[in-house]
């Protein structure tokens, strides 16, 4: 028994209940006042590629259009698409993507800003978007910059199964990965409320492992059920929309930004016989009643506004306003001169860099070549020594055999 109880494991044994105690205290006594709802975000992910998955891209683009129409701006939408439909060589209508066989609406028409396209739609990038752990060089438009007052809509569509979702036919997102990412988001207060909509086969299994409060999730089918496409467009040649998304869009086409239809009316508008599957939603982690939550809380854009009562007049500035004008003219002249000087210096600096760069470039090949040559010399000598060492071994072994 002594061998098991060494100091390190003892320390860990003592640390674990301390951590548990501390974390329970933290959760009990953290003064979490309800943050004000400040903005809405949407993360729309299409996890399929290839021509026969046209309907998944049409699903995502339809929801993108809806969410933009109801007011969420591009800067608060993260759109992840494989984006290989519109300019696909099999597309009879180039640069056009439809979600209905009447071709009334071109989803790819104008103002579509795709943030992650093609092979950038991976499980790793998706989890990085959710948790916020990007490299430093990733631009702001590709980041989920939500804060603790944000409501986030997360929509995923593609091919899925029991507790997983297939990404681009090469990797999988598992339900525990998603639950882990949501838990980390909640710890860092990256959302106030989160609505997850999944339109895949056996979609409801994807959020089985969620534990974080404030999350509402709806899937298009339950475990063991498939989600079906709505109709086939014989002109384009593939199915153009899925049933769950079709009925969701039908609900939203009746709304504009001033409406306040509730989430419960959205969830009860799904008819299992029309969907050919059961749209299952999970509200045990969501504290508010669904009848009181308007859909624009997630699908639209609500800005809390406060009127500005008065200007901040600094009295002393009133008197010296005229002096300020004259002085500021001088200052602006100096400013312009300063900036011109800086520009001139920059020019000199640029000039200076160029010859160095050229020299460096001219030196560089030679020096790199010499380095390589030296390295090559080293490698050659190593190979030579190795060969030389092997010869006696060869001789001895042939002598032994004989």
């Amino acid at each position: 028994m002594e061998t098991f109880i060494n100091p390190k494991s003892l320390f860990h044994l003592l640390l674990l209940p301390c951590l548990l105690l501390y974390s329970s205290i933290a959760y009990n006594s953290s003064p979490v006042e309800a943050a004000m709802h400040t903005n809405n975000w949407a993360v729309l992910v299409c996890t399929s590629r290839f021509w026969f998955n046209y309907r998944h891209m049409a699903n995502t683009l339809s929801l993108y259009r809806t969410v933009k129409r109801l007011g969420i701006p591009d800067e608060r939408i993260i759109l992840m698409l494989a984006d290989d439909m519109a300019c696909n060589t099999r597309n009879k209508y180039p640069a056009q993507v439809f979600n209905n066989e009447n071709h009334r609406l071109n989803l790819y028409g104008d103002n579509v800003e795709v943030d992650y396209r093609g092979y950038e739609v991976t499980v790793e990038n998706f989890l990085r978007v959710l948790t916020g752990r990007h490299e430093t060089a990733v631009p702001r438009s590709k980041r989920l910059l939500s804060d603790e007052g944000s409501h986030i809509l997360l929509y995923m569509t593609g091919h899925g199964g029991d507790e997983f979702l297939k990404f681009q036919d090469s990797e999988e997102l598992q339900s525990h990965d998603l639950a882990d990412a949501v838990k980390q988001m909640k710890e860092k207060h990256r959302f106030k409320e989160l609505l997850i909509m999944v339109d895949t086969c056996q979609a409801a299994t994807l959020f089985n492992q969620l534990q974080s409060p404030g999350v509402l999730a709806i899937g298009s089918s339950m475990k063991g059920e498939n989600s079906y496409s709505h109709h086939l467009d014989s002109d384009v040649g593939v199915s153009v929309v899925d049933r769950f998304t079709y009925y969701t869009l039908a609900f939203f086409e009746r709304l504009n930004i001033y409406d306040n239809a509730s989430l419960s009316s959205l969830f009860s508008s799904y008819n299992p016989s029309l969907l050919m599957s059961t749209a299952y939603y999970r509200k045990d982690l969501y504290k508010r009643r669904l009848e009181e939550v308007p859909v624009t809380n997630f699908f639209g854009s609500v800005m809390e506004t406060i009127h500005t009562d008065a200007a901040y007049k600094a009295l002393s500035r009133r008197n010296s306003g005229r002096f300020e004008d004259e002085m500021s003219l001088d200052q602006s002249v100096h400013h312009i001169e300063r900036r011109m000087l800086i520009k001139v210096n920059d020019g000199y600096e640029i000039h200076d860099i160029n010859p160095e760069g050229e020299e460096g470039a001219s030196k560089c090949p030679w020096s790199t070549f010499r380095n390589k040559f030296q390295k090559a010399e080293n490698v050659d000598s190593l190979v030579n020594y190795g060969l030389v060492a092997m010869i006696p071994l060869l001789v001895i072994s042939t002598w032994l055999v004989q």
């Binding site: 501390y22 990733v138 800005m303 500005t308 200007a311 007049k313």
Partner: protein, 604 residues
């Protein structure tokens, strides 16, 4: 071969043995059974060979283990826990010193002090996170001499007796009085002073520095003055003019790396009607730069500006005949910002974790000009502007003479007049203050009366900057502690995740900055504590959001096992089996030898 040759020997011995003597076998040699005995000692060479292979494997095993060890930079978990418990148990205390001066009153300073303290305790609310440790000293100036009350603070008041008289407050120039009092009181870092004077006209003003004064009429009693003094000390100097003590999180628009980018946008709704431009640099130098410098300890602020065209708004307005203008109401404000057409977030200077605040000037088209904002009570707004917390602010500016648009050439660029631009920027400064939780009005309406708040050229007065520093220090330290706690929990829950050195360094630096902030806060140096706390928070966020902490990219135990077992398992099986077999063989041979030796000994 041995068995077969033995049989005829034994046979032959049996054949000849019974009637004749044993054929040529010496009597002294005992029976030799090669199956159970051997004459020579068994060699050790085979054993040595197999065991050397086994030992070389065992010897190399620690090196292999070390080479597949996951590199985890050691994080100071204990210090992180101690920081969290320290912040929670002994709440952050900011030391403050109040000094109340009564001129022209004939009262006992100790009694006054006691009554002010009792009023203060009525007003202070319990603040679980950060509270203030204040001390109070009272001085009564009777002109000829001063009565100083007992103080509990160690440092003495530097007030010179007789420096403030009733005559100073006769003229109604608040700014001059403010300067005079500033020279008297000094206004050091955490001392707040309050002067109550008997005079002719009643007035209550809070100055730009760290003092306030009140002129009461001759007939009023001291008790009313005491109530007002307590109110201004708590509600204004400590809470910054708000009701509750702590700023809510939506009024702290500082990014996780301590930076804010102010993005100023001039939006021309319809360039076919008119196009406006502004002289931004001039205004930036005169109005914005002092404010940005003043807020240096709280946040690192940078400014950008752009002019946009074809930016209509998304809500509707209707024509009001009485006002002869187009009117939009506060109900339309949430839908005013047309994010589809207003491409505001195009900043390239802002990093990933900075906060961008958008300030937009909307120039309406000729179809909607002039455009006025109507408040719910029917009045027209004086500023035509509104804010959205954590987003920014919008002002609607109507070009002059927009009804008579024949004077303006549509394609020419008009510059916004400098006076209008100054007015606009004063509204912007008011909106910026609102985004930080202060009011843009210059009046504080308290329970016991109104106080006039003097504005400062830097946008924030000294005492407001103190309030901001204290609140932001509190918020940043708590955020840093929770972030580091989350990081330590996460790291400990994934024992096979690589933790890079950079993360360890950032955590260490964050803890050092937090300690520095705590020590500065407890000694009353607010500005440097705000700067260190902001640094602590940004380092903690950098460590938590380090891109290498991804749960999909760590080596699970199954991965390690699957890589190494196909080679090591069969090889180790063979090596161990060979060693065991050699050992068993050696033991058997040794037993045989010992048996022969025993027999030989008994025979001789």
């Amino acid at each position: 071969m041995a068995e077969i040759s033995e049989a005829p020997d034994s046979d032959s011995s049996k054949l000849f043995g019974s009637d004749s003597k044993a054929p040529q076998r010496p009597d002294s040699e005992p029976e030799f059974d090669p199956k159970l005995m051997r004459k020579t000692k068994p060699g050790l060479k085979r054993l040595f060979l197999t065991f050397s292979v086994l030992f070389s494997f065992l010897l190399g095993f620690p090196f292999l283990w070390k080479s597949v060890e996951i590199y985890r930079s050691p994080l100071p978990f204990r210090e992180i826990d101690s920081l969290s418990t320290q912040l929670r148990s002994d709440t952050l205390l900011f030391p403050l010193h109040f000094h109340a001066l009564f001129v022209g009153f004939d009262s006992d300073p100790d009694r006054l002090r006691w009554s002010i303290l009792s009023e203060i305790t009525k007003l202070t609310s319990q603040n679980p996170k950060c509270s203030d440790n204040y001390t109070l000293s009272v001085t009564v100036d009777l002109g000829s001499r001063c009565l100083r009350g007992r103080t509990s603070s160690p440092h003495s008041s530097s007030y010179q007796c007789g420096s403030v008289t009733g005559g100073d407050f006769v003229q109604n120039d608040d700014v001059a009085v403010d300067e005079r009092l500033a020279s008297v009181f000094g206004g050091k870092n955490n001392e707040y002073s309050m002067a109550v004077v008997k005079g002719v006209s009643e007035r209550a003003v809070v100055g730009k520095y760290r003092h306030a004064w009140m002129v009461v009429g001759d007939g009023s009693d001291v008790e009313m003055a005491v109530v007002k003094v307590a109110e201004v000390l708590i509600k204004v100097f400590i809470n910054g003019g708000r009701e509750e003590g702590l700023i809510r999180n939506e009024f702290m628009p500082v990014g996780a790396d301590g930076k804010i980018v102010l993005s100023f946008n001039l939006l021309n709704a319809d360039p076919h009607d008119w196009v406006y431009d502004w002289d931004f640099e001039k205004i930036d130098d005169t109005l914005l730069t002092p404010m940005i410098e003043a807020l240096g300890p709280v946040a690192n602020i940078s400014v950008e500006s752009q002019v946009l065209y074809h930016t209509p708004k998304a809500s509707f307005s209707y024509w009001n005949q009485k006002l002869e203008s187009y009117v939009f109401s506060t109900k339309d404000l949430p839908f005013f910002v047309n994010s589809n057409e207003w491409h505001l977030d195009t900043s390239i200077a802002a990093g990933g974790r900075s906060k961008i605040l958008q300030f937009a000037v909307y120039v309406p088209s000729a179809k909607e000009c002039p455009l006025l904002l109507q408040l719910p009570n029917g009045e027209i707004s004086k500023t035509n502007g509104f804010i959205s917390p954590m987003w920014g602010g919008v002002i609607v500016w109507n070009p002059q003479g927009c009804l008579r648009d024949s004077e303006f050439k549509p394609s020419a660029k008009n510059i916004i007049p400098i006076q209008d631009l100054e007015n606009m920027f004063e509204v912007f400064i008011g909106q910026f203050r609102q985004l930080f939780g202060f009011k843009s009005l210059n009046v504080y309406t308290g329970a016991s009366g109104d106080w006039n708040l003097l504005p400062s050229e830097r946008g924030f007065t000294e005492w407001e900057l103190d309030v901001l520093s204290r609140q932001h220090t509190c918020f940043n330290l708590h955020s840093c502690a929770t972030t580091l706690g989350s990081l330590s929990r996460l790291v400990q829950s994934l024992p096979r995740m690589i933790i890079k050195d950079e993360i360890g360094k950032q955590v260490k630096l964050s803890l050092e900055a937090a300690k520095l902030a705590l020590s500065n806060a407890s000694s009353g140096v607010y500005e440097s504590s705000a700067a260190s706390s902001s640094q602590a928070r940004s380092l903690a966020e950098d460590a938590f959001f380090h891109p290498s902490i991804m749960s999909v990219s760590y080596y699970s135990f199954e991965h390690c096992f699957a890589v190494y077992s196909p080679f090591f398992l069969p090889v180790s099986m063979h090596v161990v089996l060979a060693a065991l077999r050699e050992l068993r063989r050696y033991k058997q041979e040794k037993a045989k030898y010992l048996a022969w030796k025993a027999k030989a000994n008994t025979a001789t």
